[in-house]
């Protein structure tokens, strides 16, 4: 008999969006009890690695209008303008709340919160905490959430399936990683806050846990994944490890130079105009790739790269504003940025696409919500501006939670017997997968092949043939995954089993990405093609929807919510 735990709201994922949602839910209603279910302890969530900052209008020379337009333009006019409008209004309130909760924002001399310049932003509006903003925000949120005994944490519980019955979501089935037992955690609303899926690529800033779990969970229940083709390459990651070197290095004045010592973003026309190193990420990543292809890159043990030069900033400024960058460069690249340039190359960082939601964070399944990187609300359209996503987690984590609380009041618990039956099915599936002896494939090999095909077909520059090939390869890999053999039969803390579940999620997400990318015959934002080099608003100004179908992913279109800003040429 499967154990059933019941709360009002179930939140999957304990990062910035999940924690903010939990806090908003308990604040919205004094009776609401929230289950926060995460496959890792919340302080391990990948929010922790964000470095640069979080954007919100703070200065007198700034306005909501400016922040809104920067975001719309940055999104290459694919972002929904009603979403963006709401976002820029709420952003300052959310970051202020975080300050009240103890976040150690860096300060100006007069005690007000300091802001720095960031890519694609017309003025300084990125609030920062040295160069560890994600770490500080996550720990602030986590520690603040501990005040509420109505937030009940379920740590190291891996959600393997959404329980959908009677036309609505009723909760989740979760594998207790320590015990090896599957339980039902039921609630009238479920909020997915599980982050992105960078690990489908070989070079990524993302940590091990970013495997697209929430996206796959929703996709399998018939929810569309939207705009999956838009993958952000962060221009400055370390070669080899892919470790993030924050955009703040450029915000503080760092230069990107090629093998000839040339600041090519200034001297050559890559569309970033006078913004130079502070252009939007998609343009800078493309510029770096083109420089390397033109033979002006540097080669190293981990492939070709260019340089990020911080030497002219001076030791004092680097230690004050970029201390973690200095440490990362020393430990993981063997260079001291005070004296040497840092080797960098574009690496996968963020997924603009995700679970299709409306502005409330609601999906097409009643009771199911999504917020943060897992969702595509769509704030970021075809390209995200740096420092918008941390604020996004707060704004839409809170909004989804408030809406979920309202929804939960009006809904019912559904048919528990039906839920139990689904749960038992899931429990049997997991038990059969654990230590599965029959099979000829190795988990690591499938993962490696997935990474390789995503890199070749869905990189910075794409072509029809290679995207189609990747889509086919991923479909094949799914077949190979069905034939995987596993070694670990233990019930207790079986990380091979969780790795297998993660790989299966990654395969589903990768397939939607490749199929969506192959069909978009234009270049927009981060989706850049060699065979369709310009943006085509006539034919492609819409969001791509990708739905699960047994015969293969099925695509459809969703209109972009335009507003006061008409699409124009995106030049900086």
């Amino acid at each position: 008999m499967i154990e059933v735990i019941r709360h009002d709201i179930v939140i999957v994922g304990g990062g910035a969006a999940g924690l903010r949602a939990a806090i908003a839910a308990v604040e919205a209603d004094p009776d609401v009890r929230v289950a926060m279910v995460s496959k890792v302890y919340p302080m391990r969530s990948h929010t922790v690695s964000a470095e640069g900052g979080a954007a919100a209008v703070a200065r007198d020379d700034d306005s909501l209008e400016m922040h809104g337009f920067d975001t719309v333009k940055g999104s290459d006019f694919l972002g929904d303008q009603d979403v963006i409008q709401y976002f820029v209004e709420e952003a300052p309130k959310e970051l202020t709340l975080l300050e009240h909760w103890g976040c150690p924002w860096s300060r100006n001399e007069d005690g007000s919160v300091a802001t720095r310049a960031f890519g694609g932003m017309s003025t300084k509006r990125t609030w920062y905490a040295a160069d560890k903003v994600g770490f500080h925000m996550l720990h602030t949120l986590f520690q603040h959430s501990m005040r509420f005994d109505r937030i009940i944490r379920y740590d190291e519980q891996f959600v393997t399936r959404l329980i959908v019955d009677g036309g609505a979501v009723r909760g989740v089935a979760a594998l207790d990683v320590r015990e090896g037992v599957v339980r039902l955690i039921l609630g009238r609303a479920v909020i997915l806050a599980t982050g992105g899926a960078g690990k489908i690529f070989p070079f990524t800033t993302n940590g091990a846990i970013k495997t697209g779990d929430g996206m796959a969970l929703a996709y399998r229940e018939g929810v569309a994944l939207k705009d999956m083709e838009f993958v952000q390459y962060h221009p400055t990651g370390l070669p080899g490890t892919g470790i993030l070197i924050t955009e703040a290095t450029r915000g503080e004045g760092g230069h990107v130079i090629n093998s000839e010592g040339e600041r090519f973003l200034v001297t050559r026309d890559y569309g970033v105009g006078t913004k130079a190193e502070l252009g939007p990420r998609d343009m800078i990543s493309r510029a770096i790739v083109q420089e390397i292809e033109a033979g002006r890159g540097l080669s190293g043990p981990y492939g070709d790269h260019v340089h990020l030069d911080l030497r002219h900033l001076g030791e004092e400024k680097i230690n004050a504003r970029l201390p973690m960058v200095r440490e990362l460069a020393k430990i993981y690249a063997g260079v001291d940025p005070v004296h040497q340039p840092i080797p960098i190359r574009p690496v996968v960082h963020y997924m603009m696409g995700g679970v299709d939601t409306d502005i409330e964070g609601a999906t097409t399944i009643p009771g199911l919500y999504a917020a943060g990187e897992v969702a595509c609300v769509s704030l970021n359209g075809a390209n995200r501006l740096g420092s918008n996503s941390l604020t996004e987690c707060l704004v839409f984590g809170a909004r989804a939670a408030r809406h979920a609380v309202g929804y939960a009041k009006g809904s019912d618990d559904g048919n528990e017997a039906a839920c139990r039956s689904l749960g038992e099915e899931e429990s049997a599936r997991i038990a059969a997968l654990r230590g599965k002896k029959k099979g000829g494939e190795k988990l690591a090999r499938i993962r490696h092949d997935l990474n390789a095909t995503m890199e070749s077909g869905c990189g910075v520059y794409r072509e029809q043939a290679s995207m189609d090939d990747t889509a086919r390869t991923v479909a094949q890999l799914k077949g190979r995954f069905a034939d995987v053999a596993l070694e670990d039969e233990s019930a207790v803390f079986n990380t091979e089993l969780t790795a297998a579940l993660e790989l299966s999620n990654m395969l589903d997400v990768a397939e939607t990405l490749a199929v969506s990318a192959a069909h978009r015959h234009e270049s927009r934002g981060a989706h850049t093609r060699k065979d369709h080099t310009s943006r085509d608003d006539q034919n492609f100004l819409y969001h791509t929807l990708c739905n699960f179908d047994p015969t293969g992913p099925r695509l459809s279109k969703k209109a972009v919510a335009l507003g006061k800003w008409e699409p124009e040429e995106r030049k900086y």
Partner: protein, 146 residues
């Protein structure tokens, strides 16, 4: 890892639902690496305990009259006592230096409106006070003053 830690070390109040293996103490504890100095530091407590007994003995003799006092003074010239006192001096210096290293960083950044002086100042002041008091006492005992 050599030895077991306390069986309840880091044990949660709500027990987990799988059997755990007992916690082990760090491998270098107590006699290897930096732990050696720490263990010796803790063990100097025994020396202070014994010093306490010696002090009691001497003070007791004071109460018993001049001849008893002179007898104890004579006993203290025994080479064993001298060795013990030398050991005590070494251990006090050891503990003092170790404690003085910690003392500056143990000052809170602020108590009310008051801030501590710079760490170097604290360091120098501690040693100055120590040498001053110890030197003064030595002078008194040697009959140099009073």
């Amino acid at each position: 890892m050599a030895r077991a830690a306390h069986p309840d070390a880091m044990k949660p109040k709500t027990p987990g639902r799988t059997r755990t293996a007992p916690p082990m103490a760090p491998g270098e504890f107590p006699f290897a690496g930096r732990y050696r100095a720490y263990t010796l530091f803790d063990w100097t407590g025994i020396i202070y305990l014994l010093l306490g007994f010696v002090a009691l003995r001497v003070v007791w003799a004071l109460g018993d009259g001049e001849s008893a006092w002179l007898a104890v003074q004579g006993q203290l010239e025994n080479p064993l006592y001298l060795a013990f006192h030398l050991l005590s001096l070494v251990s006090v210096i050891f503990v003092g230096v170790r404690f003085f290293r910690l003392f500056p960083k143990a000052q809170p950044a602020r108590i009310g409106p008051l801030k501590p002086p710079p760490q170097l100042v604290i360091h120098v002041a501690l040693y100055a006070a120590w040498i001053g008091v110890a030197g003064g006492l030595a002078l008194v005992l040697a009959g140099g003053i009073f």
